[in-house]
Amino acid sequence: MTDAQKTERKTAAFYDVDGTLISTNVIHAYAYYALNSPSMLDRVKRASKLVGSLPLYWVADQYDRKAFNDAFYGNYKGFTEDRLVIIGEEIFEKIIRPNIFEGAHSLIKNSKAQGHDQILITGAIDYITKPLADYFGVDHWVANRLEIKDGIATGRLMKPMIAGANKALWVRRYAEEHGYDLDGSFAYADSGSDIPLLSVVGNPCAVNPDFKLKTTARAYDWPVLNL
């Protein structure tokens, strides 16, 4: 491939969302769903289960993001699709929007100005991600999708699950299918579980990193942002 051809290829900025662009996470979002359940009994049941499972989620997240997702998304079992959509928009307005990092706006604005396509890649569910994607005006986004049967969530995620190394796989495939130059592309993430995602682009960047990611970023001289 010639240099001219290389420069003609599109570039993208891939963003993890929770902890990277916003200070909330999937648990906050689910808590909102749980606390807004139509039945009082269901509300109490879901909230108690969530609180009781928090240590388990923490352990699962430290061990493997996929394990965490398997354990966590079961909570959505029984929600109707209509409710997930409506409350998803509420969650964006009430929880996510006020918790967008100040620097996220200018990061995305400057990245757009440099001609990079903006792509969100998140382990959160699509009902919550769509309003955020619309808000940032990104070019594309991918999130986890709940399996819905007869209009009701089964508590399982559809494949491919967006987490850990799968994010990297998704980015590589997406770049190949859509002609993106990954060497010239950027990726932003906050967690050690996203090291594979960051590793597939030419310009990885650790944002508000956890210890594992910060250590890796320092070892490889990746930029570290605190948004």
């Binding site: 620097g103 200018s106 400057n110 440099q114 930029p223 570290v224 942002l225």
Partner: protein, 528 residues
């Protein structure tokens, strides 16, 4: 016996003692051949004893036909006070910093005259943000506690709402300034003139501008047209700032306060380091050898941290206030009095040691790009008239050239060094990446929200060395601990000074004229 040419120039003979040179965080010594000329800084000028009285005197008796500061102040005015950042002086001065003295006096005058709407801005341009502790140290507890962070803050040259473009100079240069300053009834600039390059129109033309303005003079073409950065009359860099500064002064009411400091970089106990080795007492020789031995035993990080914590005992030698040009003329006069060392004739071979600090790595690491800027930018330009070294002469520097970077302060330097310089060290070719680095969203956010230098900064540091690169024929680095750093810089290496001088002789003959500049403390050679 060593001969004196004048007080600060010594010609060595067979009996002369070895000279010491900075070697990053260490010292090395070498017995130079007979006939070597060694330049020493002037002794520190006597400091003004009552600094605060001198500052008040300057504010009340301004230069350039303007009214005293207090006479210009009226209730309800909007005022911006800008102060130089941590890059001057080097090392930081002992507390209280001069900026603290100036601020406390000026703020008191503002309040006495009913001015409530004032803000204090650290004039960073594209330098890194100062930390809270650094600002506190610079302005003192009283000002910090009263005004930080709402009325005392780092400027943000990448905030589109914070920088105004006032127009263009007659040469089409974009003139930028802090929006707050543009909106103010008066801009008061408080400067510390460390070397003649500082201050004057450069304070505002560069210090309060963003990339769009600074790119007009921080480029290879302008740098190549500079005879010396230290000689404003022969510096294209200063001329560009002068055009911008005059443009700004026509639109804004600028009240400039400039201070000049002496070169007392060391405490009394270590001041012998600034004097010829032949004049040291036996106990001073012992002290130096003990220090050298102790430093060798310490890990580099420890030495670095230690050195950055030792402030200098600078004394105020001049303070002037009022109109920029009139103030700066007086300031420069004082600066030259302190720094100028007269010499006759240029050298075939110039030698200097590179210390652990530059204006851009305060509390940080002197990375390879900064070693380059000290060697070819700052130290090379420490002259007025002609360069100390002849055209196509050989420069010998001493530095380990370690491949170390501070990821928080210099993230874009890492990429510049590993990606760009590994491909080419041709300045014109390197320029193709400037725009990309300047607009890299990662570097912009690290600059705005972290403590990183602007993404474009390594390019400026490289350009800054361009007139040195253009003039000098060959650079030999003594003591480099690797090959790749000197190689990327385009430098040759020698294990010892003997070897380096032998290499120089291959170019300049058996008896080259060798000059060593024995700094820091800094001097500016006035070359006839």
């Amino acid at each position: 016996m060593t001969q004196w040419m004048n007080n600060q120039v010594r010609i060595l003979d067979d009996n002369s003692l070895p000279r010491y040179m900075h070697f990053a965080e260490d010292f090395i010594t070498y017995k130079f051949p007979e006939g070597t000329r060694v330049l020493y800084p002037n002794p520190p000028m006597a400091p003004i004893k009552n600094r605060r009285a001198a500052i008040r005197q300057a504010l009340n008796n301004p230069e350039g036909g303007v009214d005293p500061l207090h006479a210009q102040l009226k209730a309800g005015m909007k005022i911006t006070i800008a102060v130089d950042d941590i890059s001057v002086p080097l090392p930081s001065m002992k507390k209280p910093d001069l900026r603290q003295d100036m601020l406390e006096i000026i703020v008191e005058q503002l309040i006495e005259n009913g001015v409530e709407d004032f803000e204090i801005v650290v004039a960073l341009a594209l330098h890194r943000r100062m930390s809270e502790d650094e600002i506190r140290r610079m302005v003192g507890d009283k000002i910090f506690d009263a005004y930080y962070p709402h009325k005392l803050y780092n400027m943000d040259a990448e905030d589109p709402d914070a920088i105004a473009t006032l127009g263009q100079t007659e040469l089409g240069e974009d003139v930028q300034i802090l929006q707050r300053a543009a909106d103010s009834d008066m801009l008061i600039y408080l400067n510390i003139n460390f070397v003649p390059m500082n201050g004057g129109y450069k304070s505002i033309g560069t210090g309060l501008a963003g990339y769009k303005g600074i790119r007009h003079h921080h480029n290879p073409e302008t740098i190549l047209k500079c005879k010396s950065y230290m000689d404003p009359k022969n510096s294209a860099l200063y001329s560009s700032n002068e055009r911008m500064g005059r443009f700004i002064n026509e639109k804004l009411n600028v009240f400039h306060v400039e201070t000049t400091i002496n070169n007392k970089m060391y405490d009394d106990a270590l001041m012998f380091l600034a004097t010829p080795e032949d004049d040291w007492s036996p106990s001073e020789h012992m002290k130096f050898r003990s220090m050298q031995w102790a430093l060798k035993k310490l890990p580099r990080k420890g030495k670095r941290a230690l050195f950055h914590k030792i402030p200098a005992d600078y004394g105020l030698i001049g303070v002037f206030a009022g109109e920029t040009e009139a103030v700066h003329e007086k300031t420069l006069e004082k600066c030259w009095q302190q720094h100028a060392v007269k010499i006759k004739g240029q050298a075939d071979v110039l030698v200097y040691g590179i210390p652990f600090a530059s204006p851009y790595n305060v509390n940080s690491i002197m990375n390879p790009i900064l070693v380059q800027v000290m060697a070819l930018g700052y130290f090379f330009n420490m002259y007025r008239g002609k360069p100390v070294i002849k055209k196509d002469g050989t420069l010998i520097i001493t530095h380990p050239c370690y491949d170390e970077f501070d990821p928080e302060h210099h993230p874009s330097y890492v990429e510049f060094f590993n990606r760009c310089l590994s491909e080419t060290n041709n300045t014109q070719e390197l320029r193709k990446w400037e725009h990309e680095f300047a607009n890299n969203p990662n570097y912009i956010e690290m600059f705005r929200r972290g403590n990183a230098y602007h993404g474009v900064h390594p390019f400026y540091m490289w350009y800054w060395g361009e007139n040195g690169r253009d003039h000098i024929g060959d650079v030999i680095v003594v003591g480099a601990e690797n090959d790749h750093v000197p190689s990327r810089m385009g430098w040759r290496t020698a294990k010892t000074m003997d070897e380096a001088l032998e290499m120089a002789r291959e170019t300049h003959g058996e008896h080259p004229e060798i000059t060593m500049m024995h700094h820091p403390p800094f001097m500016v050679a006035d070359v006839e």
